[in-house]
Structures are given as C-alpha cells and as structure tokens.
C-alpha cells in the first residue's frame, strides 16, 4: 500500500522555487516510502494574509503541483476575514483548478460565523477542510483555534469533511473535544512523537478517523511516521491511518474531478 501524507508545506525546505522545494520534499518522501503529499500554503507564510498574499501563496502551490501532478495534491489557503476573496480563491483553485481541499490556519477562530460560507461552498465542491488547531498552555496566537472551537464549527456543518490539524497539539484534550463529531477526522502531524498519542486517537475516535500527516518541512517524516509505526495498534489500523482513510476522504472530489489513482 501507499503512504499518503495529509500535511505538508513548502516552507522549511531548501529550494528557490516552489517546484524545486517540492522536488526536495519528494526525494525525502521517496526515502521514507511516502507516495503522495498534500501541500498547502506558500514559501513564506502569513498569519493573516491579504487577498493578494493568499492568491500568491496558492499560486506557488499550483506552480509546484504542475510539475508533480501524480505525487502531490493541493489544498487552497483561505482567510475567513476576506469572505469574497476566499470564495473566489476556492472557486479558482478547487472548482476550476486541481486542488482538492481547503486549509484554514490562524487568521480567525474557526467557530466564528465568517467560516460558514466557506465551509458551505467547500462542501458543495466535495473539498476536504483542514483546520489548524492547538491548545497551548503558553498561550495561543490571537486567531488560533482550539479543537473545542472546531467542534462548534463541526456541529454547524455535519455534512462537511473536516480534519482537526495537529489533533489540537495537546492531544489528550483535543481528541476528546472532537470525539462526538463523526465528520471530524484527526491529523497526527506536527507535534513531538510522544508515545500513546496514536493509541489514544484510535481508541477514542476509531481507526477510521485517524490520518497520518507530517507537517514537513518544519517537522520530519521520521518523527511523524514513528507515531504510526511505533504505536501499539493493529496492522489494519496502521494501513487505514497511513493512507486508506485519506484516500476515502478524497475519493468524492477525486471522482468528481475525474482523477483516477
């Protein structure tokens, strides 16, 4: 089976162009047996991107995708504070372009009503919605969402397919927050490879709701794959987490776009 990685970036990777950075990432991915990468956001990030910056970052992802259409998928980066610009980007990159998902980061708390039209449109397009979350005892960024806020969003949008980025960082709390919402899946990526994380995710959410992601280039493939290979889980769970769950989530939009694997 193939390993699919739901959480990759073009930052923290050497390379002057988006495509050279993706090429570098894919060399490491090859070493680790990772077949497909979902990438989002550009070479230099913005917490609260203007419409122009949003478009620029998405253009960089599109540019990288053109060189590796069989190895990477793109998620469009949106800022809910710019509603119409975000809807336009969603249409440009997903409806009319090759992207298959939405990335929401830290511009706005995800329980705010500004997200509703974006989720509605993304759901119409069958796009997977990836929302960054974290619970920091050191204090969250001003617009940084928690899994508890994501749960509120999920309750309003039961038809949306939502991924809880980082499982909230503090996964022992984050996994509990999203547990009741069957349309919320969890991303293992981006935190330390702390033992017990994956076991709790499988125990509390079920193996069908857990997805491998790395958060490269800031993180390594190694530390994040170790969360799956090192976990005391069944081989069936391992297969689902490493690829089959993400394939299942993306199947509607891939079918809609006529993309055959």
């Amino acid at each position: 089976m193939d390993i699919w990685d739901i959480h990759c970036h073009l930052s923290g990777v050497p390379g002057e162009t988006p495509e050279s950075r993706l090429a570098n990432l894919l060399e490491y991915a090859d070493r680790m047996g990772v077949a497909r990468l979902c990438i989002f956001m550009g070479m230099q990030w913005s917490y609260d991107p203007s419409p122009e910056k949003m478009r620029q970052e998405n253009d960089e992802v599109l540019q990288a995708l053109r060189h590796f259409p069989n190895r990477a998928f793109g998620f469009v980066y949106l800022n809910p504070k710019h509603r119409q610009a975000s809807l336009d980007e969603l249409n440009r990159c997903v409806r009319d372009g090759p992207m298959v998902g939405v990335k929401l980061w830290v511009a706005e708390h995800c329980n705010e009503p500004e997200l509703d039209p974006l989720l509605e449109r993304a759901t119409e397009l069958k796009a997977v919605i990836f929302q960054h979350t974290w619970i920091k005892v050191t204090g969250n960024l001003p617009g940084e969402s928690t899994p508890m806020e994501l749960a509120q969003l999920a309750a309003r949008h039961p038809r949306a397919t939502i991924v809880c980025g980082h499982s909230g960082g503090d996964w022992e709390l984050g996994l509990r927050a999203i547990r009741p919402f069957q349309n919320v899946f969890t991303d293992l990526g981006g935190g330390a490879p702390t033992a017990g994380f994956t076991e709790m995710a499988v125990r509390e959410l079920g193996m069908e709701r857990v997805i491998y992601g790395s958060d490269v280039g800031g993180r390594s493939f190694s530390s994040q794959l170790a969360k799956v290979f090192g976990a005391n889980i069944s081989s069936t769970a391992r297969r689902l987490i490493l690829g089959d769950n993400l394939k299942r989530l993306l199947k509607p939009i891939l079918d809609h776009k006529g993309i055959r694997l």
Partner: protein
C-alpha cells in the same frame, strides 16, 4: 505492507541500511527500488537517551524496565544510557539512584547502563555523586537543571562538573523533557538556557558533556559555539525538520552527534527512522549510531 519503512531492525535491516548508508544515490531511487536492494548488516546502536520508571503525567508503553530493555534489544540497541523519570520530582535522589542501579542490573539485559541524577542545589549532593561513581560504578550522571531549579551559570553546577570530571563521569544535561506548549499547567518548566555552558566547559578541562533534547531549539551559531567550546555532544531525539541529520551535520561535526531516542516517552522509531531519512555515508552513520558513544565511555588513560 510493501514499500513501507518498517522501523524494526530485525525484520528490515537491509532495507533500512539501504537508505542509511548509500547517501545521495538513494535519493534518486523510488521506495520500491530501494526495497529491492541488498545491503550490509546494520551497526549496533548505543542509545544515550533512555528513561526508566513512570512519566509523572501519563502511563506509557515500556514504562516497565524489563519491557523497555526487551524492546531496545529487539530494535538493535546493544547499550542504552538510562536515567529515571523519578529524578525529575523526587527529592530523595539517593533512593532514586539506588533503585535505578538495581533496575538496570536486574532487568536491563546488560543493555541498560544507569546514569544517576544529582541535584547540586540539594544538601550534601556530593555524597550522591560519590555513590554513583563508587558504589554503583556508573559511567555518567544526568542533570535536570530546569526541574531542580538552577541555571548553568550557577557556581554549584560548575563545582559539580569539576567533581564529576575528576571522577571521569560523563555529564548529561537534559535541556527539556517535553514540548513547553503542552506541559501540564501545574508542571511548567522552561527549557534550560545552554548559553553559559560554553564558558563553564572551558573552565573544566576534560569535561565530557552530552546535551539531551537540545537539537529541537538549539541550532546555528549557538549550537556550533557550544560544540566547539569543549567535548560537548548532542543527540537526535528532538531533532526536527525534513532531512534533520543532514542539516545537523552542516552545523555540528559527525563526531559530536550521538543516537538518542528519549524512549519510552517518545516512540523509539522516531530516532531510528531519522537515520533513514537523511542520506548518510556509512562513516557518519557508524559514528552517530555507536562509535562516538563508545569512545565517550572509555576512561582516559
């Protein structure tokens, strides 16, 4: 599951070493091609960052000494430098160190080497140091400055480093145990500031210092300055970023890098897979996995 990077040495050592040893050539291979290539046997690993007993905030797999030793043995580790989570919060370090030595002797499969802990802010800590050296015949000690409440410019730390060096003990300094962002609100500690260490090490000729969990935040010139100041080593448990070891080698020479897993708090496979992710020649691979640690354990003649 074909084409997966199985981190179990005993099952996939050839596939693993393919990536670890061939360097840049391998990056051009697909994973499928990689899995079909034959490789020499892997080096045995010395893991310099292992912990016994129970993490204060969670039960974790392998928080039983015999089970931990069994797992390490199965992963190809032939020696592991072990401290104990008890040393973080227990005040009676005499008891902690005695128990650590006993656990390693009884259940350690001759893999676990105890590294006792000393709190230089605790009364009569010199006696604990003597016991570690003389009674338990330890080869090193592990310090937790942030849990024990001192900084590395504290005169007591300098004194401890001197006395430990006089006894030919390796001194490990744990800069961090877990991500500061997710600490329990009642158990928050800041990462140890390693900046003063450069100066302190220069005052103690012959000191051998191993920084644990340092490569997550230390990098660039600050890391380079530290490893240039004396016999200061780092390990890879908290090393992050794609191609982490390759990046680290641009900052620190291979002879100053050790294999460390931070198991069982971290999944052991994290450190193991890092050896695969970076294209390493066999020489630095051997140095990191074993040779550097082995050389450290030899007392100067």
């Amino acid at each position: 599951m074909k084409n997966l990077p199985n981190p179990n040495w005993s099952l996939s050592r050839r596939r693993f070493l393919l990536s670890a040893c061939i360097g840049g050539t391998l990056a051009k291979f697909t994973a499928k091609a990689a899995s079909q290539t034959r490789m020499p046997p892997p080096p045995k690993i010395i893991d310099v960052n292992v912990n016994l007993s129970r993490w204060p905030l969670r039960r974790i797999r392998y928080d039983d000494t015999a089970a931990l030793a069994g797992m390490l043995n199965q992963k190809g580790v032939t020696q592991a430098w072990a401290s104990t989570f008890d040393a973080l919060l227990h005040k009676d370090l005499g008891s902690v160190n005695a128990r650590l030595a006993d656990e390693c002797r009884r259940y350690g499969r001759r893999i676990l080497l105890p590294f006792g802990s000393i709190n230089p802010k605790s009364p009569d800590w010199e006696e604990e140091l003597r016991r570690c050296s003389e009674e338990y015949q330890m080869i090193g000690i592990r310090l937790y400055p942030n849990y024990h409440g001192y900084k590395l410019d504290d005169p007591e730390f300098l004194k401890l480093l001197r006395l430990a060096t006089d006894r030919h003990l390796i001194v490990q300094v744990a800069l961090l145990m877990e991500d500061e962002r997710m600490m329990h609100p009642l158990l928050r500690v800041q990462q140890v500031d390693a900046t003063p260490l450069s100066g302190v090490v220069k005052e103690v000729p012959g000191a051998r210092v191993v920084l644990l969990n340092a490569t997550g935040k230390l990098s660039g010139s600050s890391l380079r300055d530290l490893t240039n100041a004396g016999q200061v080593f780092v390990e890879i448990a908290m090393l992050e970023g794609v191609g982490g070891i390759s990046n680290l080698l641009k900052q620190v020479p291979a002879h100053r890098i050790l294999f460390g897993s931070h198991a069982p708090l971290f999944y052991f496979d994290s450190a193991l897979l890092k050896l695969k992710e970076s294209p390493l020649d066999s020489n630095p691979l051997q140095q990191i996995c074993r040779d550097n640690a082995e050389r450290l354990t030899k007392k100067p003649s």
